[in-house]
């Protein structure tokens, strides 16, 4: 025990080696801590893996050869493949152009994102082209302006005979395909005419030694409609002309074969698009590496050097709070009377104490004593100590100042 005025004499000494744990005991404790969390994580992962395995790899993009839904085209692609046609699905126009050489069929299903330049690029291929529900640009480009879109027709109420010599149409027979194409010049064969004089559901023409076929209604490609009337026969005939079929299902972000597609280098037009080409080639790898470094830095900072040491702090009550609250209440209520009375009473009590008056002294005695001590005017002193409440805040401040002055005069020896 030590005296508080001197340095401590006693000493507390304690020693320890290790914390009594072993590698095994720590491992057991850690295992007990994490095992439930681990179990939950593993079950979640297993569930996700199971779902991924059970779900066949299909697409949901319309006219995709892997899409098994009603708007997909898996049925047609599978049948074509079984018939010996190599179906190559591409999602970029540049790839389609590269793949569609002579002796292949290029199918362009409805492509709402196709740009005019891409349509030109498609028209420049040497493959036979089949376009389904094509837009003006594409139709114009591939048929060199010979086939045009009429205003939208309506699906015929009853199957319509082909009314042309095209083998595919003849094989298909009657059809419910919607007419909406018109021949703009000679050399165009039209099939399944609409009720309006010059519309047709299918139009085909020979151009630069290749066949360009346009079908207004893309229903014959879809899983849901491929069995309707002669759709299947039409599709197999049109798409099975050659051993290779290039099937373009355009990606919405595809800008290949346009000016917008910044060439990644001279001589390689139509290479990969987007921001990545503006950055140096090592950027991606370094970004991933930076992420890894950030993880290491986090691991470095996350482990603190020992736990925090806790200390009980006493509850502390600020004592002046109640006084401040009272002052604020006076202020909010504009209670100048109460405030002035408090200031005056305190000043009078101090002055009286100073002048040796008893606490019971009445105001006349106090005023007399003050006048004698300071030589002031009795009326002024009476007014100051016992006068009416001040009219406004300025008067209150003034009163406080004058009371201070009075006190200092009394206190002056």
């Amino acid at each position: 025990m030590s005296a508080p005025t001197t340095e401590a004499t006693g000493t507390w000494t304690a020693s320890a080696t290790g914390d009594g744990t072993t590698f095994a005991s720590r491992s057991r404790r850690r295992w007990r801590t994490v095992r439930w969390a681990l179990l939950v994580l593993v079950s979640l992962a297993a569930l996700v893996a199971l779902l991924a395995v059970l779900r066949p790899p299909t697409s949901t993009t319309p006219y995709d050869t892997g899409n098994t839904r009603d708007d997909g085209s898996r049925a047609l692609a599978q049948v074509l493949a079984r018939q010996g046609v190599t179906v190559q699905q591409v999602d970029r126009v540049a790839d389609a152009v590269a793949a569609a050489g002579p002796g292949t069929t290029l199918l362009v299903p409805p492509s709402p994102y196709l740009l005019a330049q891409q349509a030109e690029a498609l028209a420049g291929t040497e493959a036979d082209v089949v376009v389904a529900d094509a837009g003006h640009d594409l139709l114009d480009a591939v048929s060199a302006g010979r086939i045009g879109r009429a205003e939208r027709g309506t699906t015929p109420p009853t199957p319509v005979p082909p009314d042309c010599e095209l083998p595919a149409a003849v094989a298909a027979g009657a059809s419910l395909l919607e007419p909406g194409l018109e021949a703009l010049s000679d050399g165009v064969t039209t099939c399944w005419p609409g009720r309006m004089s010059n519309t047709a559901a299918l139009a085909t023409t020979e151009q630069d030694g290749r066949t360009v076929t346009a079908v207004h209604d893309a229903a014959f490609l879809r899983n849901g409609d491929v069995l309707t009337e002669g759709n299947a026969a039409l599709a197999l005939h049109l798409l099975g002309q050659h051993r290779r079929l290039v099937w373009l299902v355009q990606d919405p972000g595809d800008l290949s074969a346009t000016d917008l597609d910044a060439p990644s280098g001279p001589g390689s037009p139509g290479e990969s698009a987007g921001l990545a080409d503006l950055l140096p080639p090592w950027f991606g790898a370094v970004a991933w590496w930076a992420l890894l470094v950030a993880v290491v830095a986090a691991l470095w900072r996350v482990r603190r050097l020992g736990p925090l040491v806790a200390e009980d702090l006493p509850v502390v009550v600020p004592a002046a709070e109640s006084t401040r609250g009272r002052g604020r209440l006076y202020r909010r209520a504009r209670s100048r009377g109460h405030a002035a009375a408090g200031l005056r009473a305190a000043a009078a009590a101090r002055v009286a104490h100073r002048l040796g008056l008893p606490r019971s002294a009445d105001r006349a005695t106090v005023v007399d004593a003050v006048v004698r001590a300071t030589g002031g005017d009795p009326h002024t002193v009476t007014d100051l100590l016992y006068g009416p409440p001040p009219a406004d805040d300025v008067a209150l401040t003034e009163l406080a100042r004058r009371l201070d002055t009075l006190e200092s005069e009394v206190h002056r020896p």
Binding site: P281, W300, G306, A320
Partner: protein, 456 residues
């Protein structure tokens, strides 16, 4: 397992090969290199659990007095020990080395640098580490664990363990009021041997005879002794000794109020009312003991929190400091009836009972007033209260209208407290109310005045 900044640098260096050959293989290889180096370093690091630690610290220290926690670290393993050792203590003891001595560690977000030591020990070697501490709060403090972070030879990664090593430090009250002690002791000596003019009364006893000097009261001339010695002799008196002084600290809710937020340079700025009471109790106890009175100290709210009785002389101050070190304010209304019962149980004859409390009107009216009569009948009661320096500052504010309203509120509060003090005085108690710094000397003065007047 811990990593150091070197591991981050090693990982960051990998950016160069990755940038030169941006293929996944390089990323993978470098990642494996980093992981491998870290694992190797961890495997080669010494075990933090094979370090013998011995911590020694003084059992008690006065508040504000710098003290060291000494830690002997011995490498008990067969490997070289490269480690960072942290000797953890509670925040109110944490200190940072400074140009001139040390200062309290006041940024809770920053680590305490002075508590971290880098050691590099060969097998079997030991080193003595010194962690500076600066107690800023009264009470018992238990040390935290000693954390040992050992690093591998590359200092890239290592192992860490927090070893619980005992350690306890009792922070005694600062007792800054002891600077008032010499002057009060001088006054006490002056009272001894003084001619009985002013002090003759109930509480004085005959001391000695001495020759008359001009100025002595003729009434104190001892005529018999004068006749015997043929010289004019006066009787002298000294204050009666062996009176009982009971100092009672109220540790109830009013003692938790924070006062003295005005910074006067003391270590304990913003302390509670209890801190000022403890200072006053220590000064009064020491003074009364030197004056030959028997001192008892009691801290009470609804139960006895601390008690000192039977100690005197040089043992009294350590006993008081030790007993009052661990007293904390309790958020309970003080049981005044129980407190009076405690005082009655401890002293039977007339004593000086000093109540260190507050003059909060509501608390006094419901608590102290109903019992003060019973106490004042048998004892001389002194009610000593700490007033708030901040309220005093508010009372002097004249800067703006808001200040004047606050000053009015403070004046009203002063009036309320003076009224309470007047009521207590009517019931026979002495009332001392002073700012935290002044309470201890004022209470000592009141004690001396009572003693001089023989009212003990």
């Amino acid at each position: 397992m811990v990593l150091t900044w070197r591991a981050v640098v090693l990982a960051a260096l990998g950016a160069v090969p990755v940038a030169l050959w941006p293929v996944p293989g390089v990323v993978l290889v470098w990642a494996l290199v980093v992981v491998g180096v870290c694992c190797l370093d961890v495997a080669l690091a010494a075990s933090p659990r094979q370090v013998a630690l011995q911590r020694s610290v003084p059992t008690a220290v006065r508040l504000g007095t710098p003290v060291d926690s000494r830690l002997v670290v011995t490498n008990a393993a067969r490997r070289r020990l490269r480690a960072v050792v942290r000797d953890a203590w509670p925040p109110s003891l944490a200190a940072e080395a400074h140009d001139a001595g040390r200062r309290a560690h006041d940024d809770p977000a920053a680590p305490v640098r002075a508590a971290r030591h880098t050691v590099d020990l060969a097998p079997g070697d030991a080193v003595r580490l010194r962690t500076p501490l600066l107690p800023t709060r009264r009470g018992d403090r238990s040390a935290g664990p000693v954390t040992v972070r050992t690093l591998g030879p590359l200092r890239v990664a290592g192992r860490q363990a927090s070893i619980p090593v005992g350690g306890r430090l009792r922070v005694l009250p600062e007792f800054t009021a002891r600077r008032h002690l010499p002057s009060r002791l001088a006054r006490l000596r002056e009272m001894d041997g003084r001619a009985a003019v002013q002090v003759r009364g109930e509480g004085t006893e005959f001391d000695s005879l001495r020759e008359y000097v001009v100025g002595d009261d003729v009434r104190s001339i001892d005529w018999r002794a004068t006749a015997r010695r043929g010289d004019v002799v006066v009787r002298t008196w000294r204050p009666e000794r062996d009176r009982r002084v009971v100092v009672v600290l109220d540790t109830g809710r009013t003692s938790a109020a924070r006062i003295g937020t005005v910074d006067d340079g003391a270590v304990n700025v913003g302390g509670t009312r209890l801190e000022a009471s403890v200072e006053a109790a220590l000064l009064l106890g020491t003074l009364a003991d030197r004056a030959g009175d028997r001192v008892q100290v009691l801290a009470y709210d609804r139960a006895v929190r601390a008690r000192v009785a039977g100690a005197s002389g040089p043992r009294l101050l350590p006993a008081m400091a030790d007993a009052l070190a661990a007293v904390e304010p309790v958020l309970l209304e003080t049981d005044w009836t129980g407190l009076v019962g405690q005082v009655r149980a401890r002293v039977s004859q007339r004593s000086l009972v000093v109540l260190l409390t507050s003059l909060d009107p509501a608390a006094v009216e419901t608590g102290l007033l109903p019992v003060i009569d019973g106490l004042a009948e048998t004892h001389q009661v002194v009610v000593a209260a700490v007033s708030d320096a901040e309220v005093a500052a508010l009372g002097a504010g004249r800067e703006s209208v808001e200040d004047v309203y606050d000053a009015a509120a403070a004046a009203r509060g002063d009036l309320d407290r003076s009224a309470v003090a007047a009521v207590l005085r009517r019931h026979g108690a002495e009332v001392v109310e002073a700012l935290p710094d002044e309470l201890a000397p004022r209470l000592a003065d009141t004690y001396l005045a009572l003693k001089a007047a023989g009212r003990l």
